[in-house]
Subunit: 378 residues, 4 copies
């Protein structure tokens, strides 16, 4: 396998360290550059000490990527230090793919800067997920500075959109909640089973979803032994789920005329590091059975190596530290509701693992390359 | 305040120790007897060492209550040992109230045994909550051996049924999930705002709800850093919520003709000791506003000292170790759904504290007597 | 009981909310004033929402205490707002006792400001615990601005110094680690059993010991499922333990000539909210037995209501949310070492509860007044 | 790399699932057989559902290994079922190495049964670690049924005994606590720096050390938010640490005449799944410095890929899910003590990872083969 050169832009956060954890052992890539504007010049393992002796590479500024672009012969010396003047440097001008592990609003700036560059981009942020700038601006309360990017962007859920991803110059890596919710609900909407009434999505996430910056939100004593809801009726992932479900319903096996009723999405904060469990409630047009639904799901995901249809409700530890999404689906005869539950690791299948899966699809590799992590339990 | 004599039957479980924790400092009661069949003769503090030096009372057999009933002059000596032959014993024949902290199926046996006794009973189990034996048998898969008891029983949620509780010889203490769910939803159904469609109740509970017996369910490594759903579409608290909501809808301010649509109830297991957070989704017949709903709730609970209507979604630590129920209600204009969230401590407001509140109502005392615990945070 | 007026200066931290939790239900006090400089004018329950409907008192500036001192007729209106001009205000000039729940370095400033005032002070900080300014300055790397205060200060561990505390105008509330370590080791040094060699104190604390301010230290994902040591050989509580042990050895039943060898103290950070467990290792001059040691400890603490000598190693949950200190002592014949373990709740016996116990002693009340909290388990 | 055939005997426990997690991705081995007497015939993923779709191999009885030994042509069919009569079966008679993931007392029975077999054994239990049956019987209160085994056994800590391990037919995998304690202390005793006085080892372990069977010890509510010591002065790992330290002191660079004073070992139970942090206190014969000690440690472990000498006290999450042992060493000038801290994952470096490392050494492979797991954080 000829190695591709990849860069990670933004390495101080949880998704940054997680993607380095995966890429460092991926057989197809060379981790050519890791950047951080706030910690430039320090070692990656200074920021994340558990990498001591494993990834001690020096953090560079993302500006090196710009310079590389402009023809400067930027190289990285063997000890990880960049040297713009020297001539024994490894060139990074031909980096093949860049992962942007940046917050929304910042990412679009980089995507704009990198326009016309030969490398492809996987963007972790929400900046290019929503199809059009007006929807973005309505939900993110922010002017979109690079609407042209939407034309290049594929929504990076390979279980649904692998063909587009394979060709796209820019892949918008899905939000962590949408990944779990969409994998849970897509078979129902794609098959035309559900057309109306309510779509209730009650999700519960680990704390790493709130990011690495210390705040009252992620303080131990505010989270430990505790539980609460947040972002009721306003969370930005609501519209992302809505838009993709509508796309799925329109373009599924049995396209629906009625569309998808407004999605009710409520996130909650679990006292755990990693994991999202989503419990979704929808009502099919006709009564069905649990086994019919399970068949539908097994069929729908039969070639998808990371989706496991389960006989019992999954727990988040069943998928922890892995790229799996475990799904349980049931039908309640008494109420007429379908209940679907999905479990993912928000940092892997909900972020860094999914990004690597997208990279695999972009490069035409087997989707599972470098992603064979067995869940960690206990 | 003249002290009432009370007994706790079944003291080895979490609700047993919790009610002793509360009763030991209640100004109106004398804790006359604590029983355990499996640990008879040991001290209460042998079973629960954190009571060392606080409650060292010797555990008796519940048979002592029977003997007392039959006229035997049962007394308890000052060192807590019972002595059926001696004559220096404290009599327990005139116990005023018995708390049955027993599992369902066992409780009804005791209620039957105690029929005709002068003391009143607060029963923690599900045996007398459902009104009729056929409903019980359908959901508990068990023959009801004492259907006569239903006639004596009041459903022990004082925020709704304080008049009946005041007079009832037998109070069926609600289930932990129904307590949180009913306090969250009752104002909507009692006011006739909601008549149809879906009632989705997504609840999350701490581990103590699973009881004190060691099992795979409550092992640390299966719970810690983990989260999952269980009892999907089959949990027995479903029917309890359904029945009371129907009663509330029928007898509320604006009785509804349509009844209550089937309740969808899904419990989940949180990696915490105590607490239940319930997120409920219903759709009002007409659009409303968040502030109208908050007014409704504040009005409905204006004389209820343990219900706090909150401006932000509550967390379970906001009520931990207290008898409070915190409630947040909101209306989502985009979806047309009402979202209600309630938080309780499952061992206090969901069990032992509620039982003491019921006792206070039964004896005509102020509801808050002995229940002024401030939540413990952090 | 005639009520004493007390004030809490510094109410936004964990010790601030914890002492209000205790004082709000203390039968002997009126909580006349709660101050915060950063949140002046807000309600206490805005800062600590779990107090909603319980303590909604408005936070004042500590400057009100100064003004009261200077003769201004400061009053607090019934809605908690201070009004320096009005005349219907409740006077606070005659406050009897002030709790300073402030960081070290800040406290001494207040103690100096309050010099000559009629109220007494319990200071939570380390500013007046070490007897002399030079020791303070060596370990706290800070100039002491009020050395005169040491003359007024008693070390506030009532199990050892209740007579001095009873009379002292200023009580220096012990550090959380010293409280657990000193209660564990004092009987050995006071009885002259130990004179030499090593004193190893290995302590493990809950996160609330690190304070309420969000930082990398107390972020959930850095603490949860984790454990580490910190402050090795430099923690300031080392010298506090050393000084008091030396005082105990000098003034015990059998004064020792040899003194106390240098104390090795290592704190560790537990993934729990509350609690300190201390494991101490010392070597007696002569071999002894476990039962002789237990007798010694039971005798030493026989009139101390908050110290419980246990037959098995205690856990921190055995004392959680209470003012108890549980102690286990053992002798290892193979090694010749005494192993002593103590457990306390760092926010109660290690801070706020101990402060209230000191207040009780200062006012000549029973030590347990308002402190009869039963440990919360689970 | 020609693949070796290995078997895991005893697959229902935590070490069983952990070694399968590692072996399933080890490039040098074929996982020929997994056994369980209690779950024979079920799939490995039935017992450990997180392996669904990854390791679905059917569990066999260990008796298959006996039969294989006796010449029977035992084979395993492609669906994992064994068939002693058929002839399309894969043979397991030539298995190269067997991991015994069994409790002490059970292991020695298997080692005896397998005497004379061609395969080599790595035994997880304490049955062959202590050199002689008398020491074993004194500390394990159990008759040793196979004293002959001690002659074959090497103590499986490759950082100290790789040459013996390479040749040994039987490797006694160290206890989890001894692994952390010995790696922390060996450089001091091997270099002759320490000869006398006290050796205090205060260790803290995650719950998985207590095994997979549900009990009061590992119930969530007894462990979560809690902490306690156990096994004071009696834990069996005490003698294991003692014996190896003595061996190290005798055979180190500067053999000591004085031997090693009795080791004081106290384990504590942390509310975490995985990890052991050990804090050890010893006194050198002569004062030294922190930097001299760090140099000594770096030198001692310079060729040991899994030992990382750290500049700051390590946390257990720094090594979680990996085979690393992080060590911090310091000297306290005030007390004259050396303080050493080590962190390992008890299931990896303290059990399954160490066992695989031993296998690598036995087969002459690079020690790190199949063990390049990056720690999982957060």
């Amino acid at each position: 396998m000829e190695k591709k050169k990849v860069a990670v832009v933004g390495a101080t956060g949880y998704t940054g360290s997680e993607i380095v954890r995966i890429l460092a052992q991926h057989p197809g890539v060379e981790l050519a550059m890791i950047t951080s504007e706030s910690r430039t010049g320090e070692k990656f393992s200074d920021v994340h000490p558990f990498f001591q002796g494993i990834v001690d590479k020096v953090l560079q500024s993302a500006a090196e990527l710009d310079r590389a672009a402009s023809g400067a012969n930027v190289r990285v010396t063997s000890d990880g230090k960049s040297d713009t003047a020297g001539n024994s440097r490894e060139t990074i001008e031909d980096v093949d793919l860049v992962f942007l592990a940046l917050p929304h609003g910042v990412s679009m700036d980089y995507v704009k800067r990198f326009a016309g560059r030969s490398f492809r981009i996987v963007d972790f942020s929400g900046d290019f997920r929503l199809g059009t700038p007006d929807v973005y601006e309505a939900w993110y309360s922010k002017k979109h500075i690079y609407p042209e990017g939407f034309g290049d962007a594929a929504y990076g859920l390979p279980e649904l959109y692998s063909e587009r991803i394979h060709l796209a110059p820019l892949v918008a890596n899905p939000g962590c909640f949408p990944t779990g919710a969409l994998l849970a609900l897509t078979p129902l909407f794609a098959s035309g089973l559900i057309t109306g009434e309510h779509v209730i999505i009650d999700s519960k996430t680990g704390v790493t979803g709130a990011g690495v910056k210390a705040s009252a939100t992620n303080m131990f004593s505010n989270v430990h032994d505790n539980f609460k809801a947040y972002g009721i009726k306003t969370h930005r992932h609501t519209i992302e789920i809505q838009k993709i479900l509508e796309d799925v319903a329109r373009n599924g096996e049995k396209p629906s005329q009625k569309g998808v009723s407004p999605v009710q999405f409520t996130p909650h904060l679990l006292p755990v590091d990693r994991g999202i469990l989503t419990t979704a409630y929808v009502r099919p047009d006709e009564p069905t059975t649990a086994s019919a639904l399970q068949d539908l799901y097994r069929r729908f995901y039969r070639d998808k190596p990371f989706v496991r249809i389960c006989d019992a409700p999954p727990s988040i530890k069943d998928v922890r530290a892995s790229n799996y999404c475990n799904i349980y689906v049931d039908f309640d005869e008494r109420t007429g509701n379908v209940v679907v539950i999905s479990a993912i690791d928000n940092l892997v299948k909900g972020a860094a693992g999914l990004a690597v899966q997208n990279m695999n699809v972009m490069f035409g590799w087997d989707e599972t390359t470098g992603l064979a992590h067995i869940p960690l339990q206990p």
